[in-house]
Each structure stands twice: as C-alpha cells, then as structure tokens.
Amino acid sequence: MDNIAIKLLFTLLGLFIVLNWGLIQAGIMNKIVARVGKRIGMPVYQPYFNLIKLYSKRTSITHGVMFYLGPLFRLSGGVGMFLFMPLIFGSEYWSNFSFAGDVVLILYFQFFGMLGMALGAGEGGHPYSAIGVSRGLSQWTTIELPLTLAIISIAIQYHSLSFTDIVAAQQGGITHWTMWTNPLATAAGMLAFLGTMGHSPFDLVKAPNEIPIGPPTEYHSTFLGVLRTNAAILHVVESVLFMNLFFGGATSWFELILKTFLIYFWSVFVGVVFPRFRIEQSVSWFLKVPLILGILAIIFI
C-alpha cells in the first residue's frame, strides 16, 4: 500500500470515466427505447443537461437530517461499490481498493445505499415513499436469492470468492467464461440482474405514475442530482460485477465498456418488451424459475 496516493489518483480517474460512461450509456438506452416506440427520443447527451439543471437549482427544502443524508448514503453506496470493485483484470492500478474485500463485501455493500435511501425517504414523511420503500425491500429479498445461489455455485466451481481469482480463472477465450462452463449459474445470475437494475418488469418501486415515483417522491434539485449521479455509477458498477462473475472480466477499458453496455442492454431489452409486475407477482416470480435454476446450478457444478 505504499503507492496509495497514485492508486487514489487512478481510482478518481476511473470514477470519472465510469460516471461519464454511465450517463452516456443512459442516454443511449433512452435513445434505443425511444426508437422502439418510433420516437426520435431525447438526445444522447440529455442526462448531462438534466444533471446540470438539477445541480443549478437555486432553492431546495429538507425535511430533516436523515432526509438530508439519504442521498449521501445512496451515493456513498454506489461509489463504495465502485471502490471495492476491480475494474480491469491484471492492472494493479485499475483494481481500485479491491484488496479490502471480496464478492461478499460487494454483495452486502449494495444494502448500504438502499438502507440510506430508505431512511431518507422515510424522513420525508410522505406515505407513498414509505410504500415504495417497503415494496423495494420486499422485492430485493427475493432478488438476492438466485444471486446468492449463483455466487455460491461460482465459489464452488472456482474454489474462491475473490474477484481477481474468479476473473483469472475465466481468462483465455470465450469457452473459459462462466457463461460457458456454468450456464445455469449465469442464467440465474442474469435473471437476478433484471431485478437489481429495476427496469420494466420489476420497476414497480420507481414506477413514474403509480405512486408519484416511490421513494424519491420528496427529493428534488441537488438531492435528485446526487441520486442521478449515483444511479449512473451504480448501473455501470453492477454490470461490471456481473461481467466479472459471468463474462470473464475485462482486460482493457474498451472491453469493459463493450461488455457493460451489452449486459446493461439485456435488462433494457427485457424492460422494453415486458409490462410491469405487481408486487406479489414480482416477489414470487424470483422464487420460481430463477430459484430452480440456482439450485440446479449448485447441484450440477
């Protein structure tokens, strides 16, 4: 840890790249969704405008300390996951602070952001935000089930829970990827990925016109800006997580961007096609096919 300063610099640079890539990725996805609806859709750089406008708002209100800190927790959740996630395999600089923890750390760090968001929404005092949070949490419990099963089956397969070893085991062509060697786990994992991303079949939590927009009902101006920045980072880091686990990690930035785009596109693609689930449907959906896939993944390693 002697060159901690350099590593810090590279991590900040990585964060900058990931943030920008997140925003552009969101712009592209909106464009694609619009094209599916035969609309021209928002320009690709629209997320930048939204962010700047949000940050440039002159007034904002706060319901209390926890409300104020909610978005901060959320952002630190996203940035924290980024910090502990090794981005580029092999390069000592681009693996951020992943020496501090393995897959389990990342798995449980997701809750950090969610808890902060839940508490902030709670402090807002709006009943709809509380309903949104309760739906989000109940949905999250069953999303984690197939994900945990997949991770455990990978851990059994590669006898390790640390990212670097998993990615190392998948190097050397497509046939070495987990997608190839352990398809069941990948299937369960990718179905769980749909839930984590919160796109259409499972977007009941932030559904725009269902209960205003769920938890962030009371958030606005700079708070919403912070939440949107985190959303950008989080989407990229989640897809990097799934990339490292199932699709052989990335040896270069270009490979990372391509793979994350395709992984993220998978959830958007499903989102565009399928309508929204009700809460009990989405909770019990994960206990059907994904669960069985996960169990089979463990049995047939």
Binding site: T59, I61, L72, Y108, G125, E144, L145, I152, T217, V283
Partner: protein, 1041 residues
C-alpha cells in the same frame, strides 16, 4: 436423655387432664395441649440429635418389663427418632394453627388431637404388630373425629366415607395379623421377620393382607376416592395434618413391615406407587377446586415415595438420602400449601390471586411449588437428582421416564395455579385477615425448607463446589424488599460488580467462558443500571434478577453436571419470575415454564446417561456417552434448545418477550437466550463429529437452526408490536447461532461465537431503546409511534447503528459474521441450509426498516409533540454498547484472533490466517480495518461535497409535502405503518401458518381430555369407594399370586 416412653405417656396424661378440666376453661386446656406437644417434640429432637451426633445405639423399650413375645416393645432407633420428630413438629405447629378451631370446639377436640398425635408416634415406634393395628385404628378414629371439626355437609360426608374405607382397611389388617400370628406364633415384628412365614402358602396370604392394608392406608390410585373427599371436605389445618403427619407415619410403617415381605414385593409396591403418582398428577390437570387439587398432589407425592420404597434395591446406599429428602420436601410443601389454603379460603384456584394482597403468602406459595417440583435451593432437587442418577446407574430407564413424566404433569397444574395467583386480578375478591397463629407455622416451614435445602446439599459430594454466597446475597436483598427501587438497585449493582471482580480471574485460561461471562455479567451490570428508570418499589424484581444472574454465573463456573443442572434450574426460576411480571404475560410465562420444565427433564435424562456411561459427573463425561448415545445427545440438545427458542420450541418467546418491560426484555432476550447457546456448545464439544450418529444429529440441528432463522425473520416482518418484532428477530438470530455451531467446523464455530457476542451488543441496544420508547409512549404498537427522530435524536442514532450491524452492512461488525458464514457454508458444503440462512439474513432487512421507519421516521403524532429523550440511565448503557460495537467494527481482529486461537484446540483445520488486519480463508479475504477507513473517508468527502452543493436548503415541517395540490388531514392518517408488507405477505404469507402452536395445543388437549375422561371414576358415592377397595385387593391378589 429423656426416656422415649414419655412421648406416649405425656399426651395420654394431658388428654385425660384436659378431659377432667371439663368444657369451661378452654384456654388452660389449650395451653396444656401445646405444652404436651412441645415436650414430645423436645424428647424426639433430643434423641434425634444424639443419634446424629454421638454414636447412640438404638434402644428397645419393654413395656411391663417382659421380653417381646409376652409384651409389647417399642424401638427408638435413628429412623424412629427422625419420624417421631417430624410428626411431633407437624402436630405442634398444626395445633398452633388450629388453636382457635380447637378452642371453639372445646376441650374434647383438644384431647382428640392429642390422641391423634400420640397414636402416630406409637405407630412409628411400636415393634408389635397388633399394637400397630390398635394405634392405627386410634389414629383413624381420631382423624375421623378431627374431620368433623369443620361443621358442614361436605366434611361430614367426607368423614363418613373415610370411616367406611378405614373400617374395611383395618379389618383386613386384623385378619392378616391374626393369620400371621397363626403361622408364626408371635406378634412381634422382629419375630415375624425371623419366622419368615412367607414360604408357607397361608403365611404368604397373611403377609399379603397386612401389606395391602398398609398400602391402602397410603391411598393408592384406584382406591383413593375417599382420600380426595377427605382432603376437600376437611378443614385445611386437618388436611395439613393428614397429608404431612399421618402420611409419613404410614409410610414408615410400610417401610418397617417390608422386612417381613421379602424380595418379591418390591416390584409390586413400585408399580402400585408409580401408577398412583402418574394417575393422580394427570387427573390434577382438570381440577379447579384448590383443596381437592392439593389432595391429588399429596396422593401423587405419596405415590412417588412408595415407588422410591419399591425401587430401593436399585438405589443402593443412596436410598435413605433420596427417601428422606423427597419425604421432607413433600412434608414441608404440603403443610405450607394446606395452611395457606386455610388462610386464603378460596375454593376456585383462580381466586387464589387473592394471595397477592399479602406478599409473604405469595413467597411461601412459590417456595412450596418449587419445593414440590424439585427446584435448586430445596432438598427435593438433590433427592430427584440422586434418584435419577441411581436409577440410570442400575439401568432402569423405564422407571426414570415414568417418574419424570409424572412430575412434569405435576409441574403443569402447579405452574398454571401459580400463574393464576400471580396474574389474575383480585379487585373484587373478599378481604381476609392473616392472624398471627395462622402465619407462623407456614413461615417456619418455609424457612426450614431453605435451611434443609442447604443442609441436604452437603450430603451430595458433587455439590461441594456450589458456592452459596450469591444465594445469601439474594436472601439479603429479599429481606430489604420494602426499600425504594433505586436503593435496592444500587446495592445489587455493587454486589454484582464485586462478584465479577471475584470470579472473573477464574476464567482467564478459558476464552469461551470469558466471552460468556462478559455477556452474562456485563449484561447484568447494564440491565441493573438501566433499571434506575423505574420509580416506586418494584417489589421482588431484584431478588429474581439476581437469582437469574447467579444461575448464569454458576453455569459458567460449574465443573460437573450437577452444578450445571443446579445453575440451569436456578436461572429458570429467576427468568420465570421476570417474564411473568408483564401485565398480560400469564399465558406466555406459563408456556415458557412448561417448555423449560420439559427441557430440564430432558437434560437430567441426558446427564443420567452421561453419568452412567462415564462413571462420574464431571464435564468430560459428556464426551464419551456409550449407552443410547443418540438419545442422550438429542435429549440434551433439546433441553438446551428450549432456552434458545429454536424452531418447534419457540412459541413461548414472542408472547413472553412481547409483554416484558424494557430492562426485563433486554435481560431475557440478549442474555438469557445465550445460556442455551453455552449449553449447546458444551454438548457439541462433547459429541464431536466422528461418531456415526453425530452426523445425523448435526444435520438436523443445522436444519432446525436454518428454519428457525427463516421463520423468525419472516414472522418479525409482519408484527405490529415493536417488542414482538424484536422477540421474533431474536428467534431468527438464535437460529443463526445454532446453525453456526451445527456446522462443527472452525469457521462455523467462529461465526457462531462471534455472533453470540455481537448479538448481545446490538440486540442490547435495540431492546433498551425500543423498550424505553414503548414505555415512554405507553404503547408497544409501531403504527401509533412515528416521527420521533426530531424528539429523540440520540436513540435514533443508536438504533441506526444497531440496525446497520444487525443487517451485516460492511463498515460495521455485522458484516464479519456474514462473511464468516459465507466461507463456513461453502467450505463445509452444507449449501441448501446455508442458502436458507443467507436468505433469512436478507429478509432481516424488512423488519429492520419497518422498525426504524415506524418508530423514528414518518409523521410525528400530536400526542408525542413534547416527548423528551430517553432517561439518562437508559442512554448510558446504550451508548456503552454502541462504543463497543464501533471499536470491534474498527478492529474486528481484536475478537476474531483470540477466538481463532481458542478454537484451534478443537478444530485445528480451516482456521483464519491473518496478515495484519487482513483475514483470509481458503476462499475469500476481508480487511475490516481498511474497509472502515475507506468507507469513512469516502463518506466524509461526499458529505463535504453535498454540504457545498446544498448549504442553504430550507427546513420545513411535517405537512409540507407534495399531496396532489391538497394538504394531508392528520398525522395519524398520513403515517404509513400498519400492515406494511402486505404485498410480501400475499407472496410469502404461507410461511406463517401457526403449525407449531397448533401441534403443541393439540398435545395439551389430548392430556386434558384423558384427565377429564378418567377422573369420572370418583363418582362421589361412599359405597362405590368401598367396592373400589375390595376390587383393588382382589385384583392385586390375583396378580401377585
């Protein structure tokens, strides 16, 4: 030494003197009676002491100077001295108790009473069988006379039934005697023994008749209808005399005459006894009349003593000790109970809640109940322990189970009765005055129970290690019960701190005990410190709390099985009294006691098997169990799991903890449940993993842990009351620990022990804060709270930290437990149990958010507008725990390394290897210290950035929110907390079918229905009782010959 003959002559003389005095001057007559009884007890006490201390040899007293065949001789041996002593004391105190009744009846009643006392003494001392018959007859006539004392239809009809029954019994005895004389030629018992007439056909019948008459005198099961009516009909003082004094006399007579019968009789007597014991206790379940229930219980206890008599060949040299302790306990308890029923005069057991008007009576009633059931400080505890050990030693497992099942039934109705007394309201019940002479006898016997308990402890060699200092300290606290709460609190606090200083160095070698000592005693200090919040007297609270903590401390110090069992039972008593304090806690306290009772009986059975297979009682015996090992280990685990409320045995916890007050809730959940964990650790250490059966046990244990974790967490999310939510979550967390221990691997155990420690920390915080808030707001229901973050910021921060730890979110220490579990599950290979545990870990999120949202966030209700922060005496312990959590989170290796080294001794392979603060296993790695720093730095940086961005945002009030252009109506209608996870309930609600409670209810219904069906045979008709007696004789005759 006064000649024993005076024991007979004094009462006879005084009786006639009183008769002479005539009806008028009753007071003098009363005084004379008391003097006579006092002299009798002095004489027998003198002889008893001389036998106990000096080597006094038994003395034969020859009446009229002739040798036996021609005259009646009496013997004053050690046994006779002991029995006459207890009879005389009982009659003396009984006379004091009945002084007014006897005075009201006049001098003839007094002389009848003296006659009754004299007859019992002679029955014990005489060696002549016909003399025995004569005085037996006098005793029964005197009893019949005394029954009439209570003028009333009930007592008269009961007396008449008694007369019929004893008439038949004595005539059969007479026939037996005369035929025995016919064959042996002598009436002297010693002569009969030499004559050994059993071998002759006719002689055997004679002996049969004699013995069956004496057994019938002791009210065996089918033929004891008359006895029940007597107990119900007679005055309670008389009932006390019958059940205490005459029962012991007839028991000794049976023991004396046994020598004649010879070996073949033992099993018969044992069978008769055990049937009576189990049947009468079973019938007691449905009984609601207090005195009749006492009748059932005394008949049951006598049945137990008969069984002990019958099993004497198996009990070896311990027989006297067991018989004496059980007899003494029965004698003291029955006397106390009957005397109390005389004072409170409540027919229905539900009206016994009237007892609470006089706290001393409640204490005595409690002593009697625990004395009867064989709980620690009392002699019957050691008696029952030795009984079970000796029976196991001689391989009589069937007898053991029968005795334990019988005493379990007795426990059921006694604790239900005790629960009614403690909890049902007694506003409209009639007032009653406690006269001095009515209260002295039970008080004396109560104190005698404790003293004899200590004294009988000295006999048992395994009990040498028990230190009685804490018990003395508790007695002292009991005495100062009238002081205000904070005085008692500070005294007991200093006492506990001193005690910690004394015993903590004893554990310095053994880390496991150090951790548990820190949890138990550290928790005790925090709980007592939190106790300062309560105003008023809180009578009885400190006694039972210290009893529980004394039990817990003793559990750690115990080095043999007896001490463990002693500590376990002491802790159960303390925790029972704590849990029963809640307003609506009677049913839950009752079910808690039933589970712990069943659990302790399973434990004692397991310990017996361990004792038998290893030879002695120390802890190593847990490892090498050879006889029925699967049964032994599973029973012991079941026993300990009643305390950790694992799946199947968990239904008592939500109710019991839901009703408890704040510090009791903390003690019960954060500390008490760990005792079970300590027990499981001991058993699992003993069992090891090699044996074939161990695999199955561990597998099922793992599944039980996993399922209880899942059920606990899911059920917790649907609770409306905050306390029940925490109670269910404790079930979940304990399920974690049990699962961790069941993995039997280095990592599994490290996870389990680590979880026990951290669970104490964060659950302690949760219980204290939520309990304090529920107390302050007057309601445990979450939908009535809300928006308290503005009023109670400190408790919010505390609960937030506790929630982050519990859910295992990285920077704080909870994550270490989750990480250990992950590695343990994968390395151990128990994937599916592991998945269930990890899934329930994530489900924990639901109820955590619900707790912190409904209590602190959301809308502040009008009535809580100027609620103040929690009292300081609660905040300080909370923040001590918070600091502890933060320290461990920063440097988790402070705890993990020592646990690792400790576990190396038991599980050498699969340990954590450390470099610096980075812990790594074969699979993954984790560096708590660096995670904490990175997250901390990142958080502060982002916080600074957010401050710059958003420095001037306007603070608004609670209704300034987007409500579709309108404004909300009232805070109550806009706080979303009732039925919060309804969607989740629809999806996964089926988990919550109350299967287990249904099972246990079904079991208890079966018991109660059988009891209700069979007790119909006591039809109340005197004649049918006579037929029962005759039929009983004939059936036994046919069986024996």
């Amino acid at each position: 030494m006064v000649a024993p003959i005076y024991i007979i002559t004094i009462p006879l003389g005084i009786a006639f003197l009183i008769g002479v005095l005539g009806k008028s001057n009753k007071n003098i007559g009363g005084m004379f009676m008391l003097i006579a009884l006092a002299c009798m007890s002095f004489v027998s006490a003198q002889w008893f002491i001389s036998f106990m201390t000096s080597t006094q040899s038994p003395v034969y007293i020859y009446t009229a100077g002739f040798k036996p065949p021609f005259s009646i001789n009496l013997l004053m041996g050690l046994n006779e001295a002991f029995f006459t002593l207890i009879i005389n004391i009982a009659t003396l105190l009984g006379a004091i108790y009945l002084y007014n009744n006897l005075k009201k009846q006049g001098t003839n009643a007094m002389s009848v009473f003296l006659g009754f006392a004299m007859a019992l003494n002679v029955m014990v001392m005489t060696r002549d069988i016909f003399n025995l018959y004569v005085f037996l007859e006098i005793a029964s006539v005197a009893t019949a006379g005394l029954i009439i004392l209570e003028q009333g239809l009930k007592s008269t009809s009961a007396g008449f039934k008694y007369m019929i029954a004893t008439g038949i019994i004595s005539s059969i005895l007479l026939i037996g005697i005369i035929f025995a004389y016919n064959y042996s030629g002598t009436l002297n018992i010693d002569g009969l023994i030499e004559a050994n007439i059993g071998i002759l056909k006719g002689g055997a019948i004679a002996i049969f008749l004699i013995l069956i008459a004496i057994v019938l005198e002791l009210k065996p099961f089918p033929a004891n209808g008359w006895a029940l009516d007597v107990y119900q009909g007679a005055d309670s003082g008389i009932g006390a005399m019958i059940s205490a004094a005459s029962a012991s006399a007839s028991l000794y007579v049976l023991y004396k005459l046994f020598a004649i019968a010879g070996e073949s009789w033992y099993p018969v007597i044992a069978v008769l006894g055990i049937i009576t014991f189990i049947a009468s206790n079973l019938f007691g379940l449905k009984q609601t009349n207090s005195k009749r229930l006492l009748g059932y219980s005394s008949i049951g206890q006598i049945g137990l003593l008969i069984t002990v008599l019958g099993l004497s060949p198996y009990l070896g040299d311990k027989f006297e000790f067991i018989a004496v302790t059980l007899l003494i306990s029965h004698y003291l308890a029955k006397a106390i109970l009957f005397w109390i029923s005389g004072i409170v005069k409540a027919e229905n057991i539900k009206n016994w809640s009237n007892l609470r008007k006089k706290p001393l009576l409640v204490a005595l009633f409690g002593t009697a109940v625990f004395l009867l059931l064989g709980f620690p400080p009392f002699p019957s505890f050691f008696g029952k322990w030795e009984l079970v050990m000796q029976l196991a030693n001689s391989g009589q497992f069937a007898w053991m189970t029968a005795i334990l099942v019988g005493s379990f039934f007795e426990g059921i109705y006694l604790f239900r009765w005790f629960g009614y007394t403690l909890k049902l309201d007694n506003k409209e019940l009639p007032e009653y005055k406690m006269k001095l002479n009515k209260i002295i006898p039970p008080a004396i016997f109560g104190v005698a129970a404790y003293i004899l308990g200590y004294y009988s402890g000295t006999f048992v060699d395994a009990a040498k290690g028990l230190d009685y200092i804490p018990l003395l300290f508790i007695a002292f606290i009991a005495l100062i019960n009238f002081l205000p709460a904070w005085v008692k609190n500070s005294i007991s606090l200093t006492g506990v701190i001193l005690y910690i200083a004394v015993i903590f160095p004893e554990f310095d070698g053994d880390l496991l005990r150090q951790i548990f000592a820190a949890i138990f005693l550290g928790g005790a200090v925090l709980a007592l410190f939190a106790g300062f919040y309560s105003k008023g007297k809180r009578s009885g609270f400190h006694v039972v709390t210290l009893a529980m903590f004394a039990g817990l401390a003793m559990l750690l110090k115990a080095d043999n099985l007896l001490e463990i069992f002693y500590a376990w039972e002491l802790m159960t008593i303390g925790s029972y009294f704590l849990l029963i304090r809640g307003k609506k806690s009677m049913p839950h306290g009752y079910s808690y006691m039933m589970f712990s009772l069943g659990g302790s009986y399973a434990l004692i059975f397991g310990f017996a098997l361990a004792f038998v297979s290893f030879g002695n009682l120390d802890l190593q015996s847990l490892s090498g169990i050879t006889i029925y090992p699967t049964l032994a280990y599973s029973l012991m685990l079941l026993g300990f799991m009643t305390k950790t409320a694992s799946f199947g045995l968990h239904i008592w916890l939500p109710g019991a903890h839901g009703e408890a007050v704040v510090d009791i809730h903390f003690m019960a959940s954060a500390i008490l449940l760990k005792a079970g964990v300590f027990g499981i650790i001991l058993v699992l250490l003993g069992m090891g993993t090699e044996a074939s059966y161990a695999k199955y046990i561990l597998y099922t244990l793992g599944w039980i842990g996993a399922i209880s974790a899942l059920i606990g967490n899911i059920a917790a999310s649907f609770q409306e009351s905050a306390k029940r939510l925490l109670a269910w979550s404790s079930i979940g967390q304990l399920g974690y620990i049990v699962f961790g221990l069941a993995l039997m691997s280095h990592l599994g155990w490290m996870a389990g022990i680590f979880y026990t420690a951290t669970h104490f920390l964060y659950k302690g915080v949760l219980f204290l804060t939520i309990g304090g808030i529920a107390l302050k707001l007057g309601t445990p229901y979450m939908y009535r709270m809300g928006g308290l973050i503005k009023k109670m910021p400190f408790s919010f921060i505390a609960v937030l930290i506790a929630i982050i730890t519990l859910s295992g979110i990285p920077p704080l220490v909870g994550f270490a437990g989750k990480w250990l579990f992950y590695n343990a599950i994968i390395s151990q290979g128990l994937y599916f149990q592991g998945i269930v545990v990890l899934f329930s870990g994530i489900v924990a999120f639901l109820y955590l958010f619900r707790l912190i949202y409904s209590v602190f966030l959301g809308q502040l209700k009008d009535e809580h507008r100027n609620v103040k922060e929690l009292p300081l005496c609660l905040l300080i312990p909370i923040y001590i725990l918070i600091i502890a959590i933060m320290i461990i989170s920063a440097r988790p290796d402070f705890i993990l390394k020592p646990i690792g080294n400790y576990l190396l001794a038991y599980f050498p392979s699969g340990a954590l290897n450390w470099n610096g603060t980075m812990a790594s296993t074969g699979l993954g790695y984790w560096d708590g210290y660096w995670v904490m720093i990175i997250v901390g730095v990142m958080f502060t940086l982002l916080f600074g950035w957010l401050l710059i961005l958003n420095s001037k945002s306007k603070k608004v009030k609670q209704f300034n929110m987007v409500y579709a252009g309108e404004k909300p109506f009232r805070p109550e209608t806009t706080h979303m907390s009732y039925n919060m996870f309804s969607g989740y309930n629809k999806a996964l609600g089926f988990f919550m079918m109350p299967g287990v409670t249904g099972f246990w209810n079904w079991m208890s219904d079966i018991l109660h229905d059988t009891a209700n069906y069979f007790r119909r045979i006591y039809s109340g008709n005197g004649q049918s009782y006579a037929i029962h007696i005759i039929a009983y004789i004939i059936i036994i005759y046919l069986i024996v010959f």
